[in-house]
């Protein structure tokens, strides 16, 4: 003990007189470890605390405070009481002692054993003895933190102080200028308001002391280490100002005044704050300001200069209206909602009927914003405006006017949609039902395409409202839609019609089943006069277009199981007719039919019924058709089935994989095991039209290297690679070994690539363990030995398998991926495969559409790209430096393929290290490298890192060299980069101005318009640089 107390005395001595700050830490450690107590520390400090020198006293208090800051948790209630009494007393001491005293008090506010009454006494002394705003920044922050701590733990006690607490706080923060402290002060103010502290007679003072910062105007200094943003301050202040209706009488006039401001951000902040506070207010809070608010909101929408302000204004109007709608009506008070809406209608309604329809849109938007606020508001407004809109629609003759009116009506219907709460409630528009229906059907019969398009969206909106469309209306609508679908050539119209049909079919499937689907089927299967050989091409084209629209409409309407049951057989019939040749469908049409099936599989609800439809009917049928086609062979003579075409098979794959990935896992597992037994054992028992020969061996080497059967492996991939990971694939070892064999020996590209992808897809989901590891090692060995023998005839095949397996492993962070990716790096120097290896990096880094993606439930770790990049970028740079000149482009291409796929944030941080390489890549003659480097650079140029600015000379001259590239896309990309350069700091780029302007004169006369337009924009910006009124 004696040793300890000697140690303590020496620590105190060294801190107080020796001014060694680090001794505070040691002392605190001693207290924590129990070598001495706080009481002993106070005793040891005795002399310093009573010294006649204020500096010595300050130093003493500082030591105590710093120790308390570390050890406040170990104090007893009694100790705390004594310490508080001591500190309170020290507040009256010399001003130089105040900072450490405040630090000590702040530490004590964090104590859980704070004795009753001490919070109050602490604050009383604080408010009485300290003038907060004459303290330094950190001490002010200390005071705010004390308040925050006490508010967390001693709420009841502080509330006992009554309004004095609020007054003390108001005085403390009055005049605060530092944004960090303001955030704390706003937090305290927010707590005062939200936790129900008594504001007493200081409501206005609290409002004044906070609202003087409104609207916030703050731009963080460059390189601000504190990272406080204007948005944070805005949000914090808004929470205070909009927190209580008691502020309404002060806040609303302030907002009305600030809305007059010319500063856009102030307007926006005012509108958003208005929206925030109105959601807390009641009608009596706003009653006396209604006219002023309306005038301001109307002005902002009528004379808007930015969409953000307009939409903020409209949102505020909606909130204001719904605030008024919440009021409870009683007999003697006036109905403030209808008074207010009268005001709105008076100013807006007449604009809806002006002869030239000027200002129709701003007025309509305001009315719709009010209309969407509540049921009552929508009744009042629609009753006032709909009759005149409907009248005008029938009396106007100009198409553009009618379209405008129709659009206004549509928006009204849509605005009400959002406010209707219960479903069986009668629609606000019931009274206008008949007029609206006749309006929409007359518009659908017009020849003007924009009227037709607007009419379809009106039809969709009407259908969403309960009870507006009767069954007979739906039937009429289906007739119209069918007619437009079959006859209307305009793409925009048919797109709108298809979309509308989809929306209506989801609500009223019956009419689509009985009318639309049979009619579309008839149309698709009719062949126009095909005996006549000299059919005009345009007729052929238009028949193709009709089929195309029918196919996409069939997909769009198939969202309900009952429709899927009717529509998918039609699509399957297209495929089988195309296969047998009974009806002439082009390959393109067959592909579209597959796309429609895929879309249905993507959008349909996952129910038992739809699952059966896809797994029991559609997939077996697709496999059966493909197998029949494959067995007919490549058909050297005569016609061959479209189902052996690569484009068609590639379109079938996603139908199968989508069904297996998202519809009914159990049935998907069954589909997978059937597919496996078909491919491994030739089991065809589950296929319809079963007249297949007995010895089918789809995965074995075919006679005469026939590819029509081997390529079917892509369908196997669709079945087994997209299953949820919980579903087992049967006979997987045998399957994997046959797939490996096929991918290494087959000579048909689609076949060996699909086999490799299927292998990789299975490996990616295989569970971790020795069996997986030995499989990978075996495959790696085989692949590497083929690749190492330069005379091997199957090097390309081995390469393909390697890259897909590497991807499968890389995605799941499997450690054995490194062997394969290292092999890939080494191949960059290979004479034959070098260019392919460089392209391979793009495959590794991008998402593939049909396998190894999240949709297929593959094991994909987040940020695998960044990880791969950070582990390998050094290898790439080394490889580049070591490579002979003629091999360097491969390295650059690999680099740009990797960097291109990284998120922009990572690109920016990694760029400095790679800059010299990327600049080198701009000199590389390979246009692919140039293009991908330019596309890496462009986003980085928007916020240029300093490293880039140092290399400006090289950058500018290399970019300027590329604007005359023979390749269109390189010229465009380099001009975009030069455009982006114009936003660099002016003093850095001004020296290049004349040179860039001269160089940009040439692409102004480029033979391609796309290049010229980029050049015009870039040159325009460079002209403005350093010129008055420019930038």
């Amino acid at each position: 003990m004696a040793a300890d107390s000697a140690l303590l005395l020496s620590l105190v001595e060294e801190f107080v007189s020796g001014l060694q700050d680090s001794k505070a830490k040691d002392t605190a450690a001693g207290v924590k470890d129990g070598h001495f107590t706080v009481l002993q520390l106070v005793e040891a400090l005795g002399l310093s605390l009573t010294s006649s020198q204020p500096h010595t006293r300050a130093r003493g208090v500082q030591l105590l405070s710093e120790v308390l800051h570390e050890c406040y948790g170990n104090l007893t209630e009694r100790e705390v009481e004594v310490l508080i009494a001591f500190y309170e007393n020290r507040l009256k001491d010399h001003y130089i002692i105040t900072p450490p005293v405040l630090q000590g008090l702040r530490a004590l506010t964090k104590c859980t054993v704070l004795p009753p009454g001490s919070a109050v006494s602490m604050l009383r002394s604080l408010f009485q003895d300290v003038h907060v705003q004459s303290l330094m920044l950190t001490e002010r922050s200390c005071v705010y933190n004390m308040l925050i701590n006490l508010m967390e733990t001693r709420e009841a006690e502080l509330k006992g102080l009554g309004a004095d607490f609020v007054f003390g706080f108001v005085q403390s923060m009055d005049g605060e200028r530092d944004p960090r402290n303001l955030l704390l002060a706003f937090q305290i103010a927010k707590n005062i308001i939200h936790r129900g502290y008594d504001l007493g007679k200081f409501t206005e003072e609290l409002f004044e002391v906070t609202s003087c910062y409104f609207p916030i105007d703050f731009t963080p200094p460059a390189n601000d280490p504190h990272g406080i943003t204007k948005e944070e301050l805005i949000e914090a202040l808004r929470a205070v100002l909009s927190g209580t209706p008691k502020f309404a009488e002060f806040l609303l006039p302030l907002i009305i005044e600030k809305l007059d401001s010319d500063v856009q951000s102030a307007k926006l902040d005012s509108l958003q704050t208005l929206t925030a506070c109105l959601s807390q207010y009641e009608h009596k809070d706003v009653a006396e300001f209604l006219e002023g608010l309306w005038t301001s909101l109307r002005r902002e929408v009528f004379q808007t200069s930015s969409e953000r302000i307009e939409s903020a204004g409209l949102a505020a109007l909606t909130t204001l209206t719904s605030c008024l709608s919440r009021s409870v009506l009683n007999s003697d008070s006036e109905d403030s909602l209808s008074t207010f809406l009268d005001l709105v209608l008076k100013d807006c309604k007449h604009h809806l009927c002006e002869p030239d329809l000027k200002l129709v849109w701003p007025s309509a938007k305001l009315l719709q914003a009010a209309c969407s606020a509540s049921n009552r508001a929508s009744h009042i407004i629609t009753a006032a405006v709909m009759p005149s809109l409907i009248d005008q629609y029938s009396s106007r003759t100009q198409c553009s006017h009618r379209r405008t009116l129709l659009e206004v009506v549509v928006r009204f219907i849509q605005s009400v949609k959002t406010s209707q709460s219960s479903e069986n409630e009668e629609s606000v528009f019931s009274a206008f039902r008949e007029s609206l229906c006749s309006m929409v059907f007359s518009a659908l019969s017009e020849t003007n395409s924009s009227l037709q398009i607007t009419a379809t969206s009106m039809l969709t909106s009407l259908a969403q409202q309960t009870g507006l469309l009767l069954d007979s209306d739906i039937e009429l609508a289906v007739d119209h839609l069918t007619r437009l679908l079959l006859t209307e050539e305009d793409d925009r119209v048919s797109l709108a019609v298809v979309e509308c049909a989809g929306a209506l079919a989801a609500l009223h499937p019956a009419a689509f089943i009985t009318k639309l689907i049979p009619r579309l089927k008839t149309e698709m299967f009719t062949e126009p006069m095909d005996q006549d050989n000299n059919r005009v091409a345009s007729e052929q084209y238009s028949h193709h277009a009709v089929r195309q629209r029918c196919l996409s409409a069939l997909a769009a309407v198939s969202t309900q199981p009952s429709i899927v049951r009717e529509s998918t057989p039609v699509l399957l019939e297209v495929l089988s007719s195309a296969h047998t040749g009974s009806v002439g469908f082009s390959v393109e049409e067959v592909v579209l039919a597959c796309r429609s099936l895929q879309r249905i599989a993507e959008q349909v609800q996952d129910t038992e019924e739809t699952g059966q439809c896809f797994h029991e009917v559609i997939i077996p049928r697709l496999l059966s058709l493909a197998l029949q086609a494959a067995l007919q062979g490549e058909g050297n003579s005569g016609r061959r089935s479209p189902l052996v075409e690569e484009v068609v098979l590639s379109a079938v794959v996603p139908v199968i994989s989508t069904s297996c990935s998202r519809l009914q896992p159990t049935l998907a597992g069954q589909t997978a095991s059937r597919a496996v037994s078909l491919f491994l054992d030739g089991d065809v028992s589950f296929l319809p039209d079963n007249s297949f020969p007995s010895h089918i061996q789809l995965l074995k080497k075919q006679q005469g290297d026939s590819w029509s059967q081997s390529q079917m492996v892509c369908l196997l991939m669709g079945c087994v690679c997209s299953l949820p990971r919980s579903v087992e694939v049967p006979q997987i070892d045998q399957l994997l070994s046959q797939l490996e064999e096929m991918s290494c020996t087959c000579s048909h590209p689609l076949s060996y690539t699909s086999a490799a992808k299927c292998f990789a897809g299975l490996v990616n989901k295989r569970s971790q363990g020795d069996s997986l590891d030995s499989l990978i090692q075996r495959t790696t060995k085989r692949v590497c030995s083929e690749l190492d023998s330069t005379s091997s005839p199957v090097r390309t095949q081995a390469f393909t398998l390697m890259i897909w397996v590497a991807k499968a492993l890389l995605l799941r962070y499997h450690p054995l991926s490194t062997a394969l990716t290292d092999k890939l790096f080494s191949l960059l120097g290979d004479a034959d495969l070098g260019a392919m290896a460089a392209d391979g990096f793009s495959l590794l880094m991008s998402d593939s559409a049909d396998v190894l993606n999240r949709g297929c439930h593959a094991d994909v770790r987040i940020m695998y790209r960044q990880r791969f990049f950070s582990e390998n970028s050094a290898k790439l740079v080394q490889g580049f430096n070591a490579a002979p000149q003629e091999k360097k482009p491969n390295y650059l291409k690999a680099l740009s393929n990797i960097v291109n796929k990284l998120p922009k944030q990572v690109q920016i941080t990694e760029l400095p290290a790679l800059l010299s390489l990327l600049l080198e890549a701009l000199l590389c003659p390979d246009q692919g490298v140039q293009l991908s480097t330019l596309s890496c650079l462009e986003p980085v140029l928007i916020n240029p890192p300093p490293a880039l600015i140092q290399q400006l000379e090289a950058l500018v001259s290399r970019l300027l060299a590329l604007i005359c590239s023979p390749k269109l896309s390189v010229r465009i990309a380099s001009l975009r980069c030069i455009h982006a350069l114009s936003r660099f700091p002016e003093h850095e780029i001004l020296p290049f101005r004349a040179r860039v302007l001269r160089a940009l004169a040439r692409p102004l006369d480029d033979k391609k318009r796309l290049v010229r337009s980029e050049a015009v924009q870039a040159r325009g910006e460079w002209f403005l640089l350093g010129s008055p009124g420019g930038r």
């Binding site: 015009v1016 002209f1023 403005l1024 010129s1027 009124g1029």
Partner: protein, 166 residues
């Protein structure tokens, strides 16, 4: 400044024109397959010149197109002969800013077209009181050059040519 807003005089009555008639912007030019074909030569056409002229009115957040000052039918280009003619229509017959609008159009074309072009900018006949005088000024190379030496004039022109940022 270049605004066609402000006050509009007609028949002796003063009408406020704070909300000028707004004309719909023609949509983006549709991209055709031949424009993406490396080997096809796309001639400079009227629409291309018209697109170059999407110039702002700094007082209104509206472009000259939206104010109907410049219309596509009044833009004529002949790529083979290297000539461009643009007619613009001040919305107010006495608009004192007509020269400035014309100057902005001329400067924009000078900056955006190859040297070989001869550029003619003038007022749509019959739409401005001092049509001839303005046309003469715009056609005079020396006077255009001199105007651009004037930094306050250049400042206004540049403001019109800055791309809009909202």
């Amino acid at each position: 400044l270049v605004s066609s807003g402000g006050l509009k005089m007609s028949g002796g009555t003063r009408l406020e024109n704070a909300n000028p008639v707004i004309f719909q912007r023609s949509g983006e030019r549709l991209l055709t397959a031949s424009e993406e074909d490396e080997d096809v030569h796309d001639p400079i056409d009227d629409r291309e010149i018209f697109d170059i002229l999407s110039i702002n009115d700094p007082e209104h957040p509206l472009s000259l197109e939206e104010l109907n000052v410049v219309e596509q039918v009044r833009v004529k280009v002949n790529d083979a002969e290297s000539t461009v003619g643009v007619e613009f229509t001040p919305t107010i017959p006495h608009c004192s800013m007509a020269t400035l609008i014309g100057l902005s159009i001329k400067v924009k074309l000078l900056r955006s077209l190859p040297d070989r072009f001869k550029i003619d900018v003038h007022i749509t006949p019959g739409t401005h009181a001092s049509e001839e005088a303005v046309n003469k000024q715009l056609a005079d190379k020396e006077r255009v050059a001199a105007a651009l030496e004037n930094s306050s004039l250049l400042e206004v022109v540049n403001q019109c040519l800055s791309t809009r940022n909202i």
